[in-house]
Amino acid sequence: MKRVMEGSMGVSEMVRLCRPKVVAAYPITPQTHIVENLSQFVANGQLQAEFVNVESEFSAASVVLGASATGVRSYTATSSQGMLLMNEVVYNIAGLRLPVVMTLANRAISPPLSIWNDWQDSLSVRDAGWIQLYAEDNQEAADMHVQAYRIGEDPRVALPVMVCMDGFILTHAFEPIDIPEQAEVDAFLPEYQPLYKLDPADPVTVGAFMEPDKYMEARYLIHQAVAQAAPVVEEVAESFRAAFGRYQGGLVDAYRCEDAEVIFVTLGTLASVAKSAADQMREAGKRAGVLRIRCYRPFPTKQIRQILGKGAKVAVLEKALALGVGSIIAPEIRNALYGSDTPVNGYILGLGGRDVPPATLERIFDHAAAGRSADGLFVDLKAEHLGDEAFAAWQAQWKE
């Protein structure tokens, strides 16, 4: 049933319908409403689960690791500093092939302290072995959680899944969200059947150490598992469409790319801005398109090669930064297009929640269309905060 609700509540409702048995989370803005709602559901008996109020995110991740290893469906959520704090555990969960689902309410990382949105947190753990899905709107964010459990728990996958949603922009925005009935979710998401579990009836040893003659093969197997999850992500999106009548894309979501001169590549809600800006630009004769990457890990190389590399110039819009290097996503796109001569520019914008207006995207379109190259080019910096010299140096980068 469709009701206007806060994005966080949409996620909480969907997670409730997934029937996790253990929920462990530590409060951090802007994830807080999600877990507060869940604790209210538990308190009201609407969700039969152990709600573990842990003393840190490191423990939140560790508690769901232990619970998942014991064979129960588990859930956690975090942002920013919390994501960094659970870094060690996050690698462990993936390596132990535990299909935990986590909501990551994307938020900038410190310093400086910022509670506002960007993707530095999720991109900093992109290589940990989790499947990473990025939502464009709140309906998709909610839907992704149901899909996430189905993907992660699929025996061909057996990996944790991170549903990334832009903090505040989605978590705290009110939208109409369609929440299905419990029976519909139960039909789509059967009971979790772990591939192994801690159970005295059939003892196993988990987490043995491996010497150099075996470690590489162990890591190779996990690597293959992540890479081979891509078709399952697509399959589940199709099954979801069949069951619930909604489809927000498989690994990618391409918008008006076929005849585009410049294709914006981006994640999450920025794609919405880009799509709307693309429509406006097309009315002025500028053929813009948008390629939203919905599943960032495993990386959709095949889809990227199919859609990009056909003549359009690529402008990657990133709300993150590799300090001292530049873009994070643009090099991965370039890598996927290796062998083609498609120009791929990387633009850094929206850090720490800075707004990205359509006019900015038009300037980027013009910059890319004119054949200028860029990697890690910061957008919309302010003279008053940089000082004249630094500002002039930055402006000069745009003219290169």
Binding site: K21, V22, A24, Q48, A49, E50, V52, N53, V54, E55, S56, F58, S59, S62, V63, V64, L65, G66, A67, S68, A69, T70, G71, V72, S74, E88, V89, N92, L96, L198, D199, P200, D202, P203, V204, T205, V206, G207, A208, F209, M210, E211, K214
Partner: protein, 303 residues
């Protein structure tokens, strides 16, 4: 004894106090037990892929999150109606317990998960090469608290973890030692009969790290207790309900037998003797605090 739930073929050093204690603990806990283990000696010697010495379900995640992993296991059991039917044992060395894993342990204690936490206290980070931990005793030589011209070894006292556990309201807090294998068994069984968090700290001498002949592990463990340096006691619901009575032995008798304290006896210098007296004072305070001294008429108790 029934099947060893910690099988032989593990690669512990000869005379390893920790392996001995772990075997006693898991056998006392029984097959209906799930173990969450910290990185450390016990984990390494028992889980070298593709072999495992464990005959119960066992998980090693990280060094610092054992208490939280165990909390997750306990939560999963509770969520599926199996609390009380399966024991949850969370174990680690002194470093994992007192230092790097302490935050999660405190949180788990505060939340009251039904888990028995066992700390195997060999008084240093042994697996990484005998480095100092929060439970390294006063003046002990470790590789990161070596004696030298400006040092007499570890400059601090042991972190009083049992007191911290009691302060958290942990209903059963006890220490024990491989000097008394049956005491370990008894305390594990007692702990597991109680619902809620339990803390058991076991003194496990380390032949390699402390510097003594492997055949002396049990004897030295007994001396540690008789000297007063390792008091054996039980706290139930915050009250001292039991302690091992001893006929006190001067600390020198214990210290002299270990290479890690030998620097205190290297020469007959007043400064050194003063430090030994300082250690004696620690021991004496324990004997009083935990009511361990046998009145002359009674015999000392043992296994």
């Amino acid at each position: 004894m029934a099947t060893n739930l910690l099988a032989p073929g593990h690669t512990a050093c000869l005379g390893c106090g920790e392996a001995l204690a772990a075997r006693l603990v898991v056998n006392a806990a029984g097959p209906s037990t799930i173990i969450a283990e910290a990185t450390g000696c016990l984990e390494i010697i028992s889980s070298r892929y593709p072999e495992s010495a464990w005959n119960v379900p066992w998980i090693h995640s990280l060094f610092d999150n054992t208490a939280a992993v165990a909390a997750g296991i306990a939560a999963a059991l509770r969520a599926t109606g199996r609390e009380g039917q399966v024991n949850v044992l969370s174990q680690g060395g002194d470093g994992a317990t007192a230092d790097i894993g302490f935050g999660p342990l405190s949180g788990a204690w505060e939340r009251g998960h039904d888990v028995l936490y066992v700390c195997y206290d060999n008084e240093a980070y042994m697996n990484t090469g005998i480095q100092r931990s929060g439970l390294t005793p006063f003046h002990a030589r470790t590789s990161t608290s070596p004696p030298g011209r400006q040092s007499l070894g570890n400059p601090t006292l042991k972190k009083d973890l049992p007191a911290i556990a009691v302060a958290h309201g942990v209903p059963y807090v006890a220490t024990t030692s491989v000097g008394w294998p049956r005491d370990i068994e008894r305390k594990v069984k007692k702990a597991l009969s109680i619902r809620g968090p339990k803390y058991l700290q076991i003194h496990v001498p380390c032949p390699l790290g402390w510097g003594f002949d492997p055949s002396q592990t049990v004897d030295l463990a007994k001396l540690a207790v008789s000297s007063g340096l390792y008091p054996i006691f039980e706290y139930e619901n915050g009250i001292l309900t039991g302690s091992m009575k001893v006929k006190p032995v001067p600390v020198e008798e214990y210290l002299k037998r270990q290479v890690r304290f030998r620097h205190l006896f290297a020469a007959a210098k007043p400064e050194l003797e003063e430090q030994v007296r300082a250690i004696q004072a620690v021991a004496d305070a324990n004997l009083v605090k935990y009511q361990m001294v046998t009145p002359p008429a009674e015999a000392p108790t043992g296994a």
